[in-house]
């Protein structure tokens, strides 16, 4: 697998259109205004973030998966709603199926998608943040399954920072079994997770510089410093591999699927590792809900659940010859 390309100009381009993300999606919103996600969706729609790599003639910006992945790294840092990857994936699947109306409705904010999860007993399944969603998107072994959203019953609104619903398992409206959409989905989720890993590292490091105990910043203690170094390594690895996998996909490389699976596996581990270390570095405050540290951990778990989890990614990785 050899792909060589300098991405300096692409980074600049992506920075230019994702810059407002910190203002539009401050992480503090999840503490102060948990119901405000709906209002923020409109801003996401207007900035065109849902259609970064959807072709222009279908209503998107017409960039490649590389831009989509780099943008998602920034969005992941701000804990963008899981509706974001679900809707982007749905748009790609509908586009592939030739359903231009559905794509336009999703990109225009008239329709929204949420993730459905696998493995619930008795025909029921779970869904994340599905209130008001038109579609449920499930990433399954068969491909991307999309169904219309049905009745929702709250399953858990305590533990994951977002609401988990129980919903009947409706017949799929669309099954996109193409490797392309599966790879795109994995890249997108890997990128969001890489963003979480990066943000946790930065937050942990910043805190270690200002929090003092025993007369010095705790980051001066090697035990804490080494946690920070480990976070930096994991974040860098997740970012670089996700970006390189997006490059391989865009270039049509034969091993793009395998690279995307590797990126997802690594990003899943990096996000959970760094979220945990960030909580540890924050000490008692890190354990309190008043500190944001727990939100990153929970967001990482929801993305893990949405993409089938670490075990599934390992199974796929071992299937390559």
């Amino acid at each position: 697998m050899t792909i060589f390309r300098s991405l300096g100009d692409v980074h600049e381009l992506v920075d230019s259109f994702t810059r407002p993300v910190r203002t539009i999606l401050p992480v503090s919103r999840l503490r102060d205004d948990p119901d405000g996600e709906q209002n923020r969706w409109q801003a996401i729609v207007e900035l065109g973030w849902l259609g970064i790599s959807v072709p222009e003639e279908a209503g998107g910006i017409g960039l490649s998966a590389i831009e989509e992945v780099l943008a998602a790294q920034s969005f992941g840092r701000q804990l963008i709603s899981t509706n974001y990857p679900a809707t982007v994936i749905a748009a790609h699947a509908f586009h592939k199926a030739g359903d231009g109306d559905a794509v336009r409705a999703l990109l225009a904010g008239e329709a929204r998608a949420a993730f459905a999860l696998q493995g619930n007993a008795r025909g029921a399944r779970s869904a994340i943040d599905a209130e008001g969603a038109t579609y449920l998107v499930a990433l399954t072994g068969k491909g991307i399954e999309i169904c219309t959203s049905g009745s929702l019953e709250i399953n858990d609104d305590v533990h994951w920072g977002r609401t988990i619903f129980s919903t009947p398992a409706n017949e799929p409206l669309l099954l996109d079994a193409s490797p392309d959409t599966a790879i795109r989905s994995r890249l997108l989720i890997a990128a969001l997770l890489a963003g979480i890993a990066t943000e946790c590292c930065e937050r942990g490091v910043e805190y270690a510089k200002v929090r003092e105990q025993f007369g010095q910043p705790i980051g001066a203690f090697q035990a804490v410093k080494h946690h920070c170094a480990d976070m930096a390594i994991m974040a860098h690895a997740a970012k670089e591999l996700t970006t390189s996998a997006a490059l391989a996909f865009t270039e049509g490389h034969a091993e793009a699927g395998r690279e995307a699976d590797a990126a997802l596996n690594l990003a899943l581990r990096a996000a959970r590792h760094n979220a945990g270390k960030n909580i540890q570095v924050h000490g008692g405050m890190g354990f309190s809900a008043e500190c944001d540290a727990h939100l990153y951990l929970k967001a990482a778990h929801l993305l893990d659940a949405a993409c089938g989890g670490l075990s599934e990614s390992r199974r796929r990785l071992m299937n390559y010859s």
Binding site: M1, T2, I3, F4, R5, S6, D9, V10, L13, I61, G62, L63, S64, I66, E67, V205, A208, K209, G215, Q216, P217, G219, A220, F221, Q222, K225, H226, C228, A229, D230, A232, I233, H236, A237, A238, E240, L241, T243, S244, A245, T250, E251, H253, E259, D261, A262, A263, N265, L266, R269, S311, S313, R314, R315, L317, M318, Y320, S321
Partner: protein, 381 residues
């Protein structure tokens, strides 16, 4: 908005890859490299000579010094093919000369030093070793004490070095000595070329836990060096001279080892039939892909400008991945299996990998460096 044009492997690069593959297939040695002693010296010099004659030596060296000035992309392709055919590890007795002493002489040496030493290194006539660490100066290199007393046109050296790989079979040593009496830390150090056959030098090989005796202790008892031939980069300027090629060493010299590790992990993953080990191998596969992504992107960045600080991240990632890979190999094959036995089997790899998180600054020191220099965390009181 359009995507930027692709520079994926084009025809010229594909032709270069084919050329490298053909040459390697036809020329790799038919027996595995001995790990230490005079037989290792013969083997390494012969292989270096073969690459030199075939036009494959000094790929990264500037062409005015006999190298090929290849682009980083070409180097990567060469090392990928090199790993694919299982060519001798580059981490052998020629490593210091080709990847460290040579580039240092190119960067800081006099014309006479360049003319004398560089052709010998490239063509496989001379082996170099490194004399940096001392019994009291391991991770804390700047505390070194080996003394160089200036007397007329000569420096007279007294002291002791340790962990000097292949010093017993080397012709020359890149040696750091303290030439300014009473100086401390990074000041007052000089980088010198020390021929290993001089009177007053005693070398004692140290057997490692992995079997071979490639590390050595070197003792200096009134060893006399002519200043004009020996000093590189100026008197008392040795720290700067040693650092001159650090970026080089951390950038592309490690590419071969990184690519080699990726290749080894792939072989392990393909061999894995035990479902209990599969999750570990899957993670290793992903980690290997990450190592490749990080090291390629770092090497490309070093070519076009000053590489960022992420070199220290990659180095530690590599060291710990090498250990985890060989740890998985022990569980996969089990003691007694042919895959573990032999000079280059996984038992050797496993035991030898314990040095990965020690040599060149322990993993703990690496984490301090990352914390302080990359992340800007304060030093402890």
């Amino acid at each position: 908005m359009a995507a930027t044009p692709s520079t994926i492997e084009d025809e010229a690069l594909a032709a270069f890859r084919a050329e490298a593959r053909t040459w390697l297939k036809a020329n790799i040695p038919d027996h595995a490299a001995p790990l230490d002693g005079p037989q290792s010296r013969r083997y390494v010099l012969e292989w270096q000579r073969k690459m030199y004659d075939g036009g494959w030596a000094g790929l990264t060296w500037p062409s005015e010094f006999g190298g090929r000035s290849l682009s980083v992309v070409q180097q990567i392709i060469w090392f990928e093919e090199y790993a694919r055919v299982g060519a001798p590890s580059t981490h052998n007795a020629s490593f210091v000369g080709v990847n460290h002493a040579g580039p240092t002489i190119i960067a800081c040496g006099s014309d006479a030093q360049k003319a004398f030493h560089l052709p010998k290194i490239l063509s496989g006539e001379a082996i170099w070793c490194q004399g940096f660490s001392e019994p009291g100066s391991g991770s804390d290199l700047a505390s070194l004490r080996t003394q160089g007393r200036v007397e007329g046109n000569e420096i007279i050296i007294d002291g002791q070095k340790i962990w000097s790989s292949y010093a017993d079979i080397a012709d020359y040593q890149e040696l750091l000595i303290r030439t300014e009496p009473g100086s401390e830390r990074h000041r007052g150090i000089t980088w010198v070329i020390c021929p290993m056959n001089l009177p007053g030098i005693t070398v004692r090989p140290i057997k490692t836990m992995a079997g071979p005796a490639k590390f050595c202790e070197v003792f200096y008892d009134q060893v006399r060096l002519p200043i004009d031939q020996a000093v590189v980069g100026g008197m008392n300027n040795g720290w700067k001279t040693a650092m001159a090629t650090l970026g080089f060493e951390r950038g592309t010299a490690s590419l071969a080892l990184q690519i080699g590790l990726v290749d080894k992990i792939e072989r392990l993953a393909r061999d894995c039939t035990d479902p209990m080990l599969a999750p570990r191998l899957a993670d290793l596969r992903a980690d290997a892909a990450a190592l490749r992504a990080m090291s390629y992107s770092f090497a490309l960045a070093s070519e076009t400008g000053t590489p960022g600080s992420e070199g220290s991240l990659i180095r530690l990632y590599f060291a710990e991945l090498a250990k985890r890979a060989s740890d998985a190999a022990i569980d996969l094959y089990a003691i007694g299996s042919p895959a573990l036995a032999g000079d280059h089997g996984w038992a050797f790899e496993y035991l030898d990998a314990f040095s990965e998180t020690i040599a060149g600054g322990t993993a703990e020191i690496q984490r301090n460096i990352i914390g302080e220099r990359v992340l800007g965390l304060p030093r402890g009181k």
